[in-house]
């Protein structure tokens, strides 16, 4: 994948390469925000899951934008293809669709919620704007070979630990599923 080097020009025109890349970036951000909005505001749980899947797709776009196509595709494969579907499964099994929104929320709930939300937003924005972010050097080309070499050399310990966690999870799932069977 030839990567588009996007050094922001001072004022890129919309029809230049930088302008177009910026447009795609904004589109990706738009997808993420739209997905998140659907996921949080929808009253039907399955729609929330669909919103979550849209959000994950947008995040994959951001990874692609950061020149890590491998991570972007794994994001699609794992988060859209597996995690969202797992959540959708759980929701379908658990949720009787009929009784939602019958109980009225307490009077103070919405103003308090709004206040907490505003505070959280202010705190996170302030932190984001005031922190001096440390810029890391780019390592390798983001290709699968670089990722593989990094996993098996610099980060081999982390890699092994993750596989042990996965093994424990698999065994745990087997034990739970096996219970009650002869």
């Amino acid at each position: 994948m030839e990567s588009v080097i996007c050094l922001p020009a001072a004022n890129p025109s919309l029809f230049s390469a930088e302008g177009f890349v910026g447009l795609i970036f904004l589109l990706t951000i738009g997808i993420i925000i739209f997905g998140a909005a659907v996921a949080t505001t929808s009253r039907r749980l399955v729609r929330c899951v669909a919103g979550l899947a849209i959000c994950f797709t947008g995040v994959a776009g951001i990874y692609y934008f950061l020149m890590s196509p491998f991570v972007a595709m794994m994001q699609m494969l794992i988060y859209v293809g597996a995690v969202s579907i797992l959540i959708a499964f759980a929701v379908m099994m658990a949720d009787p669709e009929d009784h939602h929104g019958t109980a009225r929320a307490p009077v103070l709930a919405s103003p308090l919620g709004a206040a907490v939300g505003a505070m959280l937003f202010a705190a996170l924005t302030g932190m984001g704007l005031n922190t001096e972010w440390q810029v890391f050097d780019r390592r390798g080309g983001g290709t699968i070979k670089d990722v593989g070499v990094a996993f098996l050399t610099d980060y081999s310990m982390v890699f092994e630990l993750v596989s042990i966690v996965l093994l424990v999870a698999i065994i745990g799932a087997l034990v739970l599923a096996r219970r009650g069977r002869s």
Binding site: R44, L77, G81, A88
Partner: protein, 337 residues
């Protein structure tokens, strides 16, 4: 490669036309195939040999009203058929039809196709749930559990081929198998290790079984199993909603056949190494598609638990074994033979 603006537009039109024609005419092929397997003629009234039947069906489906039954989830109900179509067409971007016919050479094209295929699974799930119908619901859960189960051995087989080639680019994988059938991944006798050649036919078989199951075709069509579930997740869909699901299914078959051809059958290579080109590629994918149709109308449907057992108890252990053996053959030079 030429990077003028016309190239992507040309590929866009070409891929859309290829996808549309395949989706329409594979339906005709399937009916003819089914007819001949069952000692009937199949469609014959509309045009010579019924060749205009897909056109007539298309007009019929498009002019029908798109019914949205009461009690369904309106948005998700309308989105699902579109979602079923998108990944199948999009993944054609990454498929090399011949050395010079490929919309875009992507380093991770194998991964891209599987990443897109995971959206198709979402479409079945959403369509089944949004229909608000018990049959559709059961079908959706079945389809997803089946797809998850068969994706594992399929991906392991892909990893085996990727390990042998050392690249995730479909173009490289096909380019490495050029020069006659003895170089193809299905039986690579000319490769470094003869022992590898003995296990690759099994790998091909596993991959082919998985691609039948992944595209929800009989004998693994538990998702629509019309004798138990009416039409599964498509029960509530009429007119073009149903049409889109069917087109998505046929396009998935085309993509599956293309992948099988590239990964195991040498892509655009001629069996005897003469005149490689796009026609060999098309010939191979249509032979594979014919096999799909042939298997569908010859074998009875299995049961869902037998289907899952086949994947978890047979295909996955075998594919893991093949992966391990391949790794050993690659790493240990001169192992066995």
């Amino acid at each position: 490669m030429d990077t003028s603006i016309w190239q992507p537009i040309l590929y866009l039109i070409g891929i859309m036309a290829f996808a549309g024609l395949n989706a329409a005419y594979l339906g005709w092929c399937e009916r003819k195939g089914a007819g001949h397997v069952q000692r009937r003629i199949g469609p014959k009234e509309v045009g010579p040999y019924g060749l205009l039947q897909p056109l007539a069906d298309g007009i019929k489906l498009m002019t029908k009203q798109l019914l949205v039954p009461q009690g369904v989830d309106g948005i998700l109900f309308r989105v699902a058929p579109i979602l079923a179509m998108i990944p199948a067409i999009t993944s054609m971007v990454a498929i090399p039809f011949s050395p010079n016919i490929q919309a875009r050479s992507i380093d991770l094209s194998v991964l891209l196709i599987f990443a897109l295929a995971s959206i198709g699974m979402m479409a079945v799930l959403i369509g089944g749930w949004a229909s608000n119908n018990k049959y559709a619901m059961i079908s959706a859960t079945r389809a997803v559990s089946q797809n998850i189960a068969y994706e594992i051995p399929m991906l392991i087989m892909v990893i085996t081929v990727v390990m042998m080639t050392g690249s995730m680019n479909l173009e490289d994988i096909a380019a490495k198998q050029q020069g006659g059938f003895w170089n193809w991944n299905i039986f690579p006798v000319a490769g470094e290790s003869v022992a590898q050649a003995l296990i690759m036919p099994v790998a091909f078989l596993i991959f082919f079984i998985c691609s039948i199951a992944e595209t929800n075709r009989a004998p693994f069509d538990m998702a629509e199993a019309e004798s138990e579930l009416i039409a599964g997740h498509m029960t509530e869909y009429g007119s073009m909603g149903f049409g889109l699901f069917m087109m998505g299914e046929y396009l998935n078959i085309v993509v599956g056949a293309c992948l099988t051809t590239i990964l195991f059958l040498g892509g655009w290579d001629c069996p005897l190494g003469l005149l490689p080109g796009v026609w060999w590629f098309l010939l191979k994918i249509y032979i594979l598609i014919f096999t799909f149709i042939w298997i569908r109308w010859t074998y009875p449907r299995t049961q869902i638990y037998k289907l899952l057992n086949l994947s978890w108890k047979v295909l996955i252990p075998f594919s893991l074994g093949i992966l391990l053996l391949t790794a050993i053959f690659i790493k240990v030079e001169g192992f066995l033979i």
